[in-house]
């Protein structure tokens, strides 16, 4: 770890970043805060409403349902993607000409625009002309993600696993590559089991990258909008209407600026709070 010198002039080096991010973050955020405490009837007439919208959103069953759906979705994909990604990374050979090719192929889904991911899965899963839909129906299942909420959930989750597991694989693989060979040789001499090697050598070395993986997957899955919107449009009914989809429906569809702004702030605070909690808890464990 580098010892840092105290130097207030460093502020000048950070200034461009602060200006650019502040322009993009603070002005829009203040706009949202502004809307969240006022009522408008158009014509730029605004009336002070105080915390009314916040109370309304916090008590609205619609928000609760979207939040529960969001938490369920994020929970499920974290439970699938993190272990699956670690497992695949463990099975990857550590060197060789094919490793680069594998990594490139695995990274491919990460670089496809999100609406294309949604559209791709749409035509992949359509019951009549999609490969997945056709195969599932051929096995005797009655699979139609546009009609059946359960099928829609399975499809959205499968799509997210397809889309993002590679990020976990890449990070875990990076963590594993940083382990010197000497560690494995020592373990072999001690006659350590496969599990012991994983538990006491590989897992600790991966801990830092896995923290990053969980944080990124948590944040991004909590903000998910485009992919499920293109795939299912939030349906059938409201079955896959996650928080962002619900928010855009309120803000742009119904033009309820006040409630939408209040919901935005609550939504943002939930992400901040959960990220902070997870981060503090992992770091505290590190201390012991």
């Amino acid at each position: 770890m580098i010892t840092k010198t105290r130097n207030q002039k460093a502020w000048f080096l950070v200034l461009p970043v602060i200006l650019l991010v502040a322009f993009n973050a603070i002005i829009p955020l203040m706009t949202v805060v502004n809307y969240s405490v006022q009522e408008t009837f158009g014509d730029n007439l605004f009336f002070w409403e105080g915390v009314r919208w916040f109370e309304e959103v916090l008590h609205s069953p619609r928000f609760h349902e979207a939040l529960v759906r969001q938490l369920t979705f994020t929970g499920i994909i974290l439970l699938i993607e993190i272990p699956l990604g670690v497992m695949i990374a463990l099975q990857m050979p550590r060197s060789g000409p094919w490793v680069s090719v594998c990594l490139v192929l695995m990274a491919l889904p990460l670089l496809i625009p999100w609406n294309v991911v949604g559209a791709m899965w749409n035509i992949f899963a359509l019951p009549d002309i999609g490969l997945l839909g056709r195969v599932l129906n051929a096995t005797g299942l009655d699979y139609n993600f546009t009609r059946d909420p359960l099928a829609a959930w399975v499809t959205v989750i499968l799509m997210d696993v397809w889309h993002w597991t590679s990020l976990v694989v890449l990070l875990a693989y990076a963590g594993l590559s940083s382990i010197p060979d000497a560690y494995y040789q020592a373990a072999r001499i001690d006659g350590a089991s496969r599990w012991a090697i994983f538990r006491y050598i590989q897992l600790p070395k991966m801990k830092r990258v896995l923290t990053i993986a969980v944080l990124l997957r948590f944040m991004d899955s909590f903000m998910i909008y485009t992919e499920p919107f293109v795939l299912t449009g939030g349906g059938p009914g409201n079955a896959t209407t996650f928080l962002s989809i619900d928010l855009v429906k309120t803000a742009l569809g119904q033009f309820d600026l006040g409630p939408a702004a209040a919901m935005s702030l609550i939504y943002f605070l939930i992400i901040l709070l959960l990220s902070w909690l997870f981060y503090t808890l992992t770091m505290r464990n590190e201390g012991h």
Binding site: W98, L103, L111
Partner: protein, 266 residues
């Protein structure tokens, strides 16, 4: 090469390739054939979907527009992040930790929250429907990411390098440009890769901030889907083409992608 060694990664890659194969399969079919029935490969192989895209300016301009704002964003994000990351990795200053955390919180802001205020902000400053609007808006999440990645790489460079250079009489900017930046090219490559990636795949803000002149390819696709009925073949071909720029970029940084986040500090 034993088969067992490659079994799990091989199966995983097969799973990844299936939807992509299906997209390619669709893109070489006529719309009639797609809606007419199910086949594992095109029966009447056609490239007319691709020809349609390359001859219609509303289509190919979408790709050009997207590439322009993605490149502007990558250049801005990385160049302002470089000095900032240096400051975070080398100096302690008033409020440094809070500032770093505040930057990262912007990575956690859902684009859906900011779509409407961004529209108003960029309309007010007269940038609506320009490449700059999207490029600057994407800075919201790409600058924090670039600072984070670069800071990790820079902390891996021993401080003796800086001190020796200053003793030798280098000025700060001279040292930074001539010595320091060349030593962290891998980090710059990784940061640029992630900026490119997140700007290229984002749609909600890019769509909100443009209407005609700077319309990204992703928005062209969604609007076509609704206006001209259900031209699946065309849509599939357009989708397949969006994979190519990403694939090229990954190939260039393939040896560094994995390292990128691994070196970033949490």
């Amino acid at each position: 090469m034993s088969i067992r060694k490659w079994l799990v990664p091989g199966l995983y890659i097969l799973f990844l390739m299936l939807p992509i194969y299906w997209l390619l399969n669709m893109s070489f079919k006529t719309t009639n054939e797609i809606l007419g029935g199910f086949s594992l490969w095109p029966q009447e192989f056609t490239t007319e979907n691709y020809v349609a895209i390359f001859t219609d300016p509303t289509w190919y301009n979408g790709y050009i527009n997207s590439l322009i704002y993605v490149l502007i964003n990558t250049v801005i994000s990385v160049s302002v992040a470089l000095p900032a990351a240096y400051a975070f990795s080398r100096y302690r200053f008033l409020g440094d930790k809070h500032l770093f955390f505040w930057l990262l919180t912007n990575r956690m802001a859902p684009p859906a929250v900011f779509a409407l205020p961004f529209f108003q902000l960029y309309s007010a400053v007269g940038l609506f429907d320009t490449y700059w609007a999207v490029a600057l808006a994407h800075c919201l999440f790409n600058i924090p990411l670039a600072v984070w990645i670069l800071e990790g790489f820079m902390s891996g460079v021993p401080k003796e390098l800086d001190e020796t250079a200053y003793v030798d009489g280098y000025s700060f900017w001279h040292f930074f440009g001539r010595i320091f930046i060349p030593t962290i090219t891998a980090g710059i490559g990784v940061a640029a890769f992630f900026c490119f990636m997140f700007s290229w795949v984002e749609l909600l803000l890019a769509k909100t901030l443009t209407s005609v002149a700077a319309k990204p390819i992703a928005a062209t696709m969604t609007r076509t889907a609704s206006s001209s009925g259900y031209e699946l073949g065309l849509l599939a071909a357009a989708g397949a083409l969006t994979i190519i720029p990403g694939a090229i970029v990954i190939w260039f940084v393939r040896n560094y992608i994995a390292k990128g986040f691994a070196l970033g500090r949490v």
